[in-house]
Symmetry: C2
Subunit: 344 residues, 2 copies
């Protein structure tokens, strides 16, 4: 037996000779529609046995005009700037933003999400924590009829809006820059490989070496070196090797790169002459160090704006049937003195 | 006519031969009480015509165990660290934290507060924005029966829990250190004087000068110099004076102190020999600059923990009648190379 066709916003609009967007606004409890029209629409929706799909359900829930953001840590420039970008757009649209931090722990991330779901937010924007393993808690958001937008560290297999960086090409460009500057033994500080961004950055490093006919030397690749302290520990290990590296690419973060620089300074190793250092994220302190640190700018504010714009496009898409979409933003290599061996 | 005595938690407890804290828990919808006991308590409360006072009302509202924090900006170490301190305690207690930033604008601060009030949070923790003028929106929080704790930048006249720094004595200590190092003409970068913290820091500067018999020179005091760019502009102005300062105390922030240092470097002025520089807040970048910057640590994580502890003490105080309280935390002068003229 064929299932009866489900009534849509279009059916309601047709019956009432209204614009579908008016129907959408009524279901959204928007103020831009008269009370009489809204009541007529809601009554007709009931008569036609209209069932909101998850998006329409979200529109209903979204009447409090609050968006929740979950990030690992608020005190990293990258996340703070993404949030600033999101806010710039959401405030224009009359939405408020509430922020939770997971402290890089999935268990806290789940609590943050539960809190935001209980607060009946319209949308949750998330970058997952370092110990990410399962996307079950993210699926739960969608099942609750709340919009979900992932950014930067995303659960690849989950079909949602995503705003990401092209980590692989940025990483490849950074390593090719080091090669062009004359560095021969380039070490990699890599992040937790359960996170897609760090897998991509490692892939970029490997591609750059292979493309330039340089060997991949396993002892020059250090796992999970992504804080300043872990970056410093990794550097002591690397510089203690019989055949140490002449450059270190801290693909994890500028914090790790700062750890590298501090150890180099302690050991009186000249940067960039005897050691090239490249970080990742363009934290503002990379312009203050001596020498300034070469890094990769992720266009974080633009990422934030793009995320918010996607959400408001998604709201509109109820009437135009737009599909899920991934936006990949190209990061930018910022070359500073810490890698300019050829200039000295 | 005398008003009839209002029934209290104690009356309910006495009638049922229960502990007042059990009554409080029942009104708080806590899980640590049996359903039967809770229902008995709620029924008795109704019989006795018990009216919740604002605190008890707050306890009722607080069943979602969510606390809201409003700060000017999340990407300043001071605020991020206070939030980390708050979270450490709230998570232990099974509470969740949601964060909003005002971007230093009272208009946004009001929106943040409205959002949090609508989300039915148990408590709002706030440090006010730079254009603070009126505490009406804060009074509104208390009128809604939501706990209010102010920290750092507080509305002095509002009777709430407050966790503050002793800004005046920290500032005085910093200026006395500069005097002891041999600086003779000490400039002050001051913050917006509508904020109590900046008034207190200015007062400390003036006291140190007077105590040491040094004149207050109006042209050495620059208003509203509290970002890196404004700090740089102020410095160019000060160093262009016919009789320029030999030290600059950026009482506003380390960001302003960084602006001072960058201009000094541009102008080839030797720090600390020809110019002493002291900042405020112990942002982590002050350890990376050359030279490292003397600053004041506000014990921000401790402030955060203290705030959260006050809230949970306040909950308990329903049964012990504790009064509002102000906790003043002593900041610490962190002496680094940028002011150590006597050591070179």
């Amino acid at each position: 037996m064929k299932q009866p066709k489900r009534a849509t916003i279009y059916d309601i609009a047709k019956k009432l000779n209204l614009n579908p967007s008016s129907v959408s606004r009524a279901l959204n409890h928007s103020r831009n529609i008269s009370t009489a029209t809204r009541e007529l629409i809601l009554k007709t929706a009931e008569e036609l046995n209209y069932k909101a799909n998850s998006m329409a359900s979200n529109l209903r829930k979204g009447h409090n005009r609050t968006i929740g953001v979950v990030v690992p840590r608020i005190n990293q420039n990258f996340f703070a700037n993404v949030i600033a970008g999101i806010e710039e757009i959401t405030y224009q649209q009359g939405y408020n933003l509430i922020i939770c931090q997971s402290n890089e722990l999935a268990a806290r991330e789940i609590k943050c999400i539960n809190t935001l779901v209980n607060q009946d937010v319209s949308c949750i924007i998330i970058s997952v924590s370092a110990d990410f393993e399962s996307d079950d808690h993210l699926k739960n958001i969608k099942e609750q009829g709340i919009s979900l937008i992932q950014f930067d560290r995303v659960a690849d297999e989950l079909d949602t809006f995503k705003v990401t960086n092209d980590n692989e090409s940025a990483s490849r460009e950074a390593v090719e820059h080091l090669i062009a500057e004359g560095y021969k033994r380039i070490a990699l500080l890599e992040g937790p490989q359960n996170l897609n961004i760090f897998r991509q950055r490692k892939a970029g490093y490997l591609k750059a070496l292979r493309k330039n006919g340089m060997p991949v030397i396993p002892e020059l690749i250090v796992e999970n070196a992504w804080t300043k302290d872990l970056g410093a520990i990794a550097t002591r290990k690397l510089l203690g090797l019989p055949n140490p590296p002449d450059a270190i690419f801290a693909s994890t973060s500028d914090f790790a790169a700062l750890g590298v620089l501090e150890v180099a300074n302690e050991m009186n190793i000249s940067v960039p002459r005897d050691l090239g250092i490249c970080g990742y994220s363009n934290e503002s302190f990379t312009e203050i160090t001596t020498p300034m640190i070469t890094t990769i700018d992720q266009h974080s504010t633009l990422m934030g704006k793009t995320i918010a714009q996607l959400y408001f496009q998604e709201l509109d898409s109820v009437t135009n049937g737009r599909k899920d979409k991934v936006v990949n933003i190209q990061p930018e290599l910022i070359i500073r003195k810490s890698t300019l061996k050829s200039k000295i």
